[in-house]
């Protein structure tokens, strides 16, 4: 039961480790471990796309080209065409880039020893801000600035209720980038905390056995197997979460773009 006693301290230590820490400069000007891995993911993404563009042929061949094409077609059909609609081609580059960028960041974070670029609120806030500016820009471009602001209030609501609804809609609009950033960050952060917790539990329970082999320690280490099994299951779930979160972020971005460009509510 010493293992359970040591657990809170280890979890606190783990959470502290997951907090942003500068690897170059400081927290204002520099790089944290998350922004470092985000840059690594950006480079990986650029390399993947460069290789893909070079290898892409009329008849796709090979696991790599087919795999990337599958993802791109997924964004094209399920997100761009499915959500944005007729004007999908104009927004496809943004949607495909943001989906693959987040996906690669999430998957890199699942490699032991690496961190997800999306595991820090600063990184997800940047992506959310770009998305916010993007859909507001296209909303203003479609309707004009005044027209876009007017379009926030639903049509057919009588004065003064329409003013009240407009204020609520403006708040809703301003909350969109915040919810986008926090949703992605919390999912990735929490998933990694859970995985880290179970790996700590597996290590703590096995530690006495590794230090001194005895029947007592062997029995005490048995829960480690259970924690390890749960860890593997959570890891598998995190693989799905990595994909789902990239999908959710991209679909919401597509929905916001569609709403911003819609003729009327």
């Amino acid at each position: 039961m010493d293992a359970f006693a040591a657990l809170p301290e280890e979890i606190n230590h783990l959470v502290a480790e997951f907090s942003s820490a500068p690897v170059a400069g400081d927290l204002t000007v520099g790089l944290t471990q998350y922004s470092f891995w985000l840059l690594v993911a950006a480079v990986v993404f650029a390399v993947v796309m460069a290789v893909f563009v070079k290898k892409q042929t009329l008849v796709p061949r090979g696991v790599f080209v087919n795999g990337v094409e599958y993802l791109i077609e997924y964004v094209q059909n399920d997100v761009a065409k499915g959500v944005v609609g007729t004007g999908w081609r104009r927004h496809f580059p943004f949607l495909a880039t943001i989906f693959l960028f987040i996906l690669i960041n999430n998957f890199i974070g699942l490699i032991p020893g690496c961190k997800p670029g999306t595991g820090a609120i600063g990184c997800t806030a940047a992506l959310a801000l770009v998305t916010f500016v993007y859909f507001v820009y296209f909303g203003c471009k479609k309707h004009g600035v005044i027209g876009y602001l007017k379009s926030l209030a639903p049509a057919g609501v009588a004065f003064p209720m329409n003013v009240f609804v407009w204020v609520i809609e403006v708040f809703s609009l301003l909350l969109r980038p915040i919810t986008l950033a926090i949703r992605l960050f919390c999912n990735m952060f929490a998933g990694h905390i859970v995985m880290g917790s179970f790996s700590i539990m597996a290590a703590i329970f096995a530690e006495p056995l590794l230090e001194h082999f005895s029947a007592m320690n062997a029995v005490g280490a048995l829960p480690s197997l259970a924690w390890l099994a749960i860890l593997l299951i959570i890891y598998a779930v995190e693989l799905i979460v990595a994909f789902v979160q990239a999908y959710v972020f991209t679909v919401l971005a597509a929905v916001y773009i569609q709403i911003a460009e819609a003729e009327g509510h």
Partner: protein
């Protein structure tokens, strides 16, 4: 190019928004609690710049060619499907044409067979008629010959019988009757005999 320009303008807007953000608000030490939800500029700025560079670079260099290739593929597939459909239609038309030709050939063959049978039938009838006529003519001619032969035989036998009768009667009657009377008597007799046989 329009897309690139739009992306560039969007990038400029985002960069301006990032630079105008209140820096001190992001600069707090993240030691846990609520501060974990405060963005650090050391993460926000590199992420913003990295994403915008990737977005602009891919929008300019990758996505147009990727979409072009996928469109070209879709077009080729549609064309191939259309060609396959046209080839299928052509094959079906050829098949119908071939079936029509076979049906026509069968009908023609049946007509030919029917005509040949009709010709054979008429030829048979003609041959049988001809043979029948010939046979009738032969029979008639045979009858005539037989009649002639019979007449000749009768004439010859009457002559012979008359001679014999004259001779026999002459011998029997020792020439009481002259020859002319005997001949009349015999001719009368032979006529009676001929009427009995005729």
């Amino acid at each position: 190019m329009k897309l690139i320009n739009r992306a560039g303008r969007a990038a400029a807007l985002v960069a301006a928004a990032g630079l105008l953000a209140p820096v001190p608000a992001f600069a707090e030490e993240s030691a846990g609690g609520a501060s974990i939800l405060i963005p650090n500029m050391a993460e926000f700025i590199p992420a913003l710049i990295a994403f915008l560079i990737i977005l602009v670079a891919l929008a300019k260099l990758a996505w147009p060619s990727v979409l072009t290739m996928m469109d070209e593929r879709s077009k080729r597939i549609e064309e191939s499907l259309a060609d396959a459909e046209a080839a299928k239609q052509a094959a079906a038309a050829k098949r119908r044409e071939a079936d029509q030709i076979v049906a026509d050939a069968r009908r023609e063959a049946a007509d030919i067979v029917l005509e040949a049978r009709r010709d054979a039938e008429s030829e048979r009838a003609r041959i049988i008629g001809s043979a029948h006529d010939e046979a009738t003519a032969l029979i008639a001619r045979a009858h005539e010959n037989i009649e002639d032969e019979r007449r000749a035989v009768y004439a010859s036998s009457a002559e012979t019988v008359a001679n014999l009768a004259v001779e026999v009667a002459g011998r029997i009657l020792n020439e009481r009757l002259d020859e002319a009377e005997q001949r009349k008597l015999i001719e009368k007799y032979t006529e009676q005999v001929g009427s009995l046989n005729g």
